[in-house]
Each structure stands twice: as C-alpha cells, then as structure tokens.
Amino acid sequence: MDSTAVLELSGVKKRFGGVVALNGVSFSLRPGEVHALVGENGAGKSTLIKILCGIIQRDAGSISLGGSPYDPHVPGDAKKAGIQVVHQEFNLLPYLSVAENICFEDMPRKGFGLVDYSTLYDKARKALDAIGLRDVDVRRPVESLGVAHRQLVEIARALMGESRILILDEPTATLTARETERLFEIIAGLKAKGVAVVFVSHHLNEVFAICDRVTVLRNGESVMSADIAATTPDQLVTNMVGRQLAAAMAASRDVDKAGRTALSLRNLRHPASPHAEGVSFDLHYGEILGIAGLVGSGRTELLRSIFAADLPVSGTLERDGQPRRYQTPKQAIRDGIGFVTEDRKEEGLILDMPIAANVTLASLRKVSRFGLLNKREEIRLARALGGEIRLKYGNTGDAVSTLSGGNQQKVVLAKWLANNPKILLLDEPTRGVDVGAKAEIYALLRGLSEKGLALLIVSSELPELITLCDRILVMSKHRIAGEVAREDFSEERILNFAYKDERNHGHP
C-alpha cells in the first residue's frame, strides 16, 4: 500500500461475456504526479478508464480514493468525487456554442430556468483563457472548430469541475506540435496545484517528456510500474509485448512461394492521410501480407481506399499489372477483390437476414437468372460454403444474428468466397472471436493462400500477424514505416517501426 496515494487500484478485473478485458490491474496515483498508462491496443487501457469514471463496473478488485472505497455507478459519481476525464472520442455537442459546451454540466441560471448568458460567457472565457486558448470566441458553435481546438475545449470543460484527478485518454492524437506544447503547460500547471494526472498515450516520447511515473498494461494486467527516471523506452516496449512467441510459429509457413504480383499500389493516398506520398507496396498471389500499426495509423483507410469504399485522392493501383481506378466497391468486386470489414455488425452483415442471404449478398448474380432468385441454388451454395468453412449453424434460413461471433465472421468470409475472389482484404479478421474459431479461421486463411489467393490482413494482434503472414508492413501515420520479413519477425521489431515516428521526429 502506498500511504500517500490519492487513488489506489488493486486486482481490478473485468470481463465482457467470454472475453477478459482486465485480469488484475493494480497501480497507485500520487497527488501532483503525472502518471502514464501505456500498453498495446486492446491491453485494457480504455476499459480501465471506463471503470474509473463509472461508465462500466468492475467485476472484482478494490479501488480506493483518498483512503476511502470508491465505487462509481454512473459518470456523475466520478465527477462528484473529483475525477474528470477527457475521452478519446469527442463528447461535445456540435451545434451548441463553445460556452454552452464548457458549462453544460452546470449552466448558470437566472431564475425561471433561464440561462444567464453573460455569466455563461464569462465563465467560458475564463476557462479558455486558463488553458491559453485566447483566440477562440466562446459564442462560436463547436461545429466550426477544428479537431485540435475541440480537443482543447473538451479539456477546458473537464477542468470546469473541481478536480482531484484528471484522466487524459490519448489527448495528443489530434493535436499539432504547438498545441501539444500548450497542453503540456496546462498539465504542468495542474500538477503544481496538486492535481494528479493520468496520461494515456501511445507516444512514448511524450511519456518521457512529461510523466513522473509509468504503468504498463498487457493483456489486461498491470505488468510494470516504475519511475520514469528509472526506465527506458526499450524497457517499456519489451514489457508491453511480453514474451516472444515468434519462434514456435516460424516453422508453420513456407515462405518462398509467393507468385506473380496481384496488386500493386504506388503512392495511393486516402483522403484522411496527411502525406502526399501515400502508400506503396506489391501484393503477390499466394502471399499473406500483414499490416501492423497503432490504431489510427491508417490501416483501415488503406484497405478502404483499395476497395473504393473511400475513393483515394491520388496515387495509382495496378491489378495484374493493369492500371485500375475503381469508382465503386462494385468495380473492385468484379475485379476479384473481397473486403472483410473490421466491424461485421455495421458493415459486413445484414444481421436480421438469413445466413443464406448473407452468404450470397455479394454474388447474387450466381444464384439468379434474369433477376429471379433461385433459392434452391442459393441454399445449395450457402451449404457448400458452410461446409467448406466449417460453419456451425442450424439452418441456412436462420438469421445471422443467432450465430456466435466466430461463426458470424465465417459467414462474412463465405460471402466473399462465394465470389471466388483473387484478392482478399481482411480488417481485424478475428476480432471478438473465441480461441477455437480463431484457429479455424487461421487454417482457412492459410488454405486460401495455398490455393493462390493474395491476402492482405490488418490486425492489432501482433501474434496473429506473426502466425499468419509471410511479410508484415508496419504503418505509422498513414505511411509504411517499415517492412519485416518472416525470418525477422518479432513483436519488438514491429513495434519499433510502429513507434518510430514518435521517437525520431515526434514533438517536442
């Protein structure tokens, strides 16, 4: 026990259904310190923050705040206790003014429930001035602000309440160097007032620039807590990654059999990419190419721009050596490309429709003549593919929503396989899938590559990429930061590329 701690967590656990999100997190926060919370995607940082601010409840473990037990049930409890959070996603009301947003939790009133606008504007002005945002008119609608300013408004709003603890979840993700600098000054000011700050970041250079201590999360557990002065970036990365599993898996793949080039990108640039040079690489038949990178590094956007789900702004794409410029997903599909999206519920499946209808959704021409559906043929195709991918289901007429996550994902795969694609783009192909189904999906993907399909797989789970891929490209800020060949696979190597931008030419 740390007697000086303002916040103390020990053995906090949380599971969602069968998925363990937190499996014993302990750390302590001292008044007036900036404490970094780092870990890979999915290590449990967001879950932990949600527990601290009362959005979800823990299953086990204890949390004490200022020496007494702390057990928030709604976000209001956390605010009353003096814990303020700036979330990664914006929680602003776009059509209301900056002032109304800042004071939304406690609107100044005049009686009869009328808003006291002059006090409102005053308070908001002071709040913005306090964080050095003097050039923003508090009457402007939030909608008219850029992302960086929105982030600062969010911070101003969090600081309106009495705060003992401020939690910042990836606060610099949308800030420019100058604004980051300003944020760091604000943090230093708060620190001087005795406020404890929890700083969640992927950017290790920032962690080393402003934090006093650091706690590393891995697979839902806190694996290390240390003073910043007593650690190094390399040590943090090693702890984030954990033991090496690469060696055991290396044997399972025959690397040297990639064939002709199936897809070739040159400077392909998604509209969200800040870099004109875009992304360039070649994908070969029979190859499984992995794309690693942090959340927000442009991996999903890359796949979407290949598939014309979003139209690239510049660059070229060649398919079998022929230049192509797809205007719609339909054209990409006709050209032999399939896209297993990250979010199967929102983009991949039509949940209320039958399994068979989902399987044939992208290949209705194969099960119809003159626009008339041949349902017998449709069911035959669904059953054949269902057998091929070992789908566990009752009847092809059952709604897809009745299947487990792993089987739903197999239906998405079946939807594309029904089209006999030559190239499959897969975005987080095993997200929310249990271990058994995961292994089956891996086997299935390997089988496809052996049949000569070219696979491009985006995944946040490095062991997944290391198991499956022949090559891994690492993305950082919408660019390819590095390429790792199978014989050199290691999580450290990949993460080093992922964090490369942060170390070399990051701010400050």
Partner: protein
C-alpha cells in the same frame, strides 16, 4: 433443428426461417383482421354482399398507394407526396382524356399512360433528390407534396374535370361475383409486389439496403439506383391509383387525395412493416389496408360519428406498433 452442428443438412428442406417468421407476423395481422370482422358481424348489415363490395371498393385506392409506400418504407424512406401526386396524375389524365379527336379507347389508354408517367416523374424526382444529396425523404417529399398540388391547381386553374368516356365510368363500377374489378386490379398489383420483393434479386437487395445500407454498398450493390427505383415504383403506383380513382368517382380534381399519404403509411405500418426499413411485406400491407377499411366501415355501421371513427383509427395505428414491439421481443428471445 436441434443439432448444434449441421454442415450437410438433408437436401430438399428449403424452409427459410425468416420467411416462416414473416408468415407468422402476417398471420398475426390476419388474425387481428378476422377478429375485427367477427366483432362487426354482430351488426346486421356488415356481412351483406353489398356491404362487402362496398368495403372492397373503399379499400382499393389506399391499397394501391400502400403497395408503393411499402417499397419506399422498406428502404428506410417515406413518401409524403403521394396524395398530391395522385391529384396531379388525375388532372393530367383527365386533360389527356378530353383531348379533341381521340376515340374513347385511345383516350383512356393515353390517359392511363400519361398518369403513370406523371407519377413516375415525381417518383424519380423524389428518389434522385433524396439519394443524390442524402436528404431525408421526409423533407424532399414534403417539398414535392406542395409542388405536385400546386402544379395540379395551376394546370386546371383549380377546376374539376368531369367528362370521361361512359365506358370508362362503367368499368369503374363493375364487379365480378360482387368483387369490384378495381379491387381485383389492386390484388394483381399486390401479387406483383410480393413477387418482386420475395423472388427477385431486386427485392432482396431492397431488404438488404433497408437493413444495412453500408453492408449492401460494400457488397457491391448500387444503393443509389435502388433508392431511386423504390421511389419510382411508388410513383408508378400513384399514377395507377389516380386512374382507379377517376374510374371509380368519375372526376379528376386538383384537390383530391388530401391526406392519402397518411392512410397509406398507416396501412403499411399496421401491416407490420418497420418504419426504419428492412422488414415487412406487401401481404402485410394488404392486411393493414383491409383492417383500416373494415374498421372505418364497421364503425360507421355502429353509428359512430366520423370524428369518433378518426380517433379510433388513430388508436389502432398506435396499438399496432406497440403490439409489433412485443412481437419483435418474442421472436428475438
């Protein structure tokens, strides 16, 4: 099926569970209709042949409009313009029918074609505008509601057209074994609508778009085309509805059809189609339109005032949707 793993089901069992579910929903609405009929059959006049003919006549126009509305609501849209567009189609058809120098048969044929084209025009307009600029169809069709009504008044200078070929008028009141011919036409349209929605690729994709537009788009479907098509189909049915209206009532006036859109929406919703799209059927719509017709007729026979009748119809609409929520919960559990 109780086997947890079934990769090779016996060939020939082609049952679609979702189809079964749809049938169950429709059965529920059918039962409601039967209960309603049973309740009213205690009034002396309700089950007479002439009253049944009367009910079917009353139901016909709303049914035709509701079929089109079903297509639009299935993709998550709404068409508020159908009543006004019906008036516009009617005055266009009425004007064409009275063109000098046409023999009656040609006049009627030409009028029918022009009514359908006029309805189609507004349907295409509704679809194009809402799909191209991604404007909610509620707003777009609120606009075309006014445009069509204004155009109808402008074209006719607010006057009513009466003079149609006698054979046309006679056709409108013909019955076969007591069933109005116009209602039979509406039934044929129901059958076509049912066929298109359940048996064709086009129908399948409409359901898909209504359920999950992005998934349908990423599966290579041209969402824009389907949206415009759904509104166009609705427009065509409004054109047909206008001709049926003229045949039955022997007038074409720019002020007819006021509020028809709301009756059509009510029939679709009572018929179990989800206002958020993706779920529902034309058969349900048929039953929904019949429930509204039977209810209106029965309440009149009970001697209730028009005002009471309107209130009760309102309650029924709300009740139908509440019941649907429960049914949904039961089928999901």
């Amino acid at each position: 099926m109780d086997t947890p793993e079934l990769t090779a089901a016996p060939a020939g069992s082609t049952a679609f569970a979702t189809t079964t579910k749809t049938v169950l929903r429709e059965a529920g609405i059918g039962i409601a209709l039967i209960v309603l009929i049973a309740a009213f059959s205690f009034t002396p006049y309700f089950l007479t042949a002439s009253n049944i003919t009367n009910i079917l006549t009353q139901v016909t126009i709303n049914l035709v409009l509701s079929i089109g509305m079903t297509f639009v609501i299935l993709i998550g849209g709404i068409d508020l313009s159908v009543g006004s567009v019906l008036a516009f189609c009617a005055v266009v058809a009425g004007t064409v029918m009275n063109l000098p120098g046409l023999d009656p048969a040609a006049a009627v044929a030409l009028a029918t074609i022009s009514a359908i084209l006029a309805g189609m025009l507004f349907g295409v307009l509704n679809g194009l505008i809402s799909a191209w600029w991604a404007i909610p169809s509620f707003i777009v069709t609120l606009g075309t509601l006014n445009i069509a009504r204004g155009a109808a008044l402008q074209v006719t200078n607010a006057s009513t057209i009466y003079s149609f070929p006698p054979a046309f008028n006679a056709f409108g009141s013909q019955t076969i074994y007591g069933v109005p011919v116009l209602f039979l036409i509406a039934l044929v349209l129901v059958a076509i609508g049912w066929f298109v929605l359940t048996k064709t690729v086009f129908g399948r994709v409409l359901y898909g778009i209504g359920n999950n537009e992005e998934a349908a788009r990423l599966a290579g479907h041209n969402v824009f085309f389907y949206k415009v098509a759904a509104f166009t189909i609705c427009g065509v049915l409004v054109g047909i509805g206008a001709i049926i209206y003229m045949a039955r009532l022997n007038i074409a006036s720019p002020i007819i059809g006021i509020g028809f859109e709301l009756n059509a929406i009510a029939a679709v919703i009572i018929g179990g189609t989800s206002l958020s799209g993706g779920r529902g059927s034309v058969v349900g719509t048929l039953l929904g339109a019949c429930i509204i017709g039977v209810l209106a007729n029965g309440l009149i026979l009970l001697g209730l005032s028009d005002f009471m009748r309107q209130m009760i119809t309102g309650f029924v609409i709300i009740l139908a949707v509440i019941l649907d929520k429960y049914r949904e919960r039961l089928t999901k559990a």
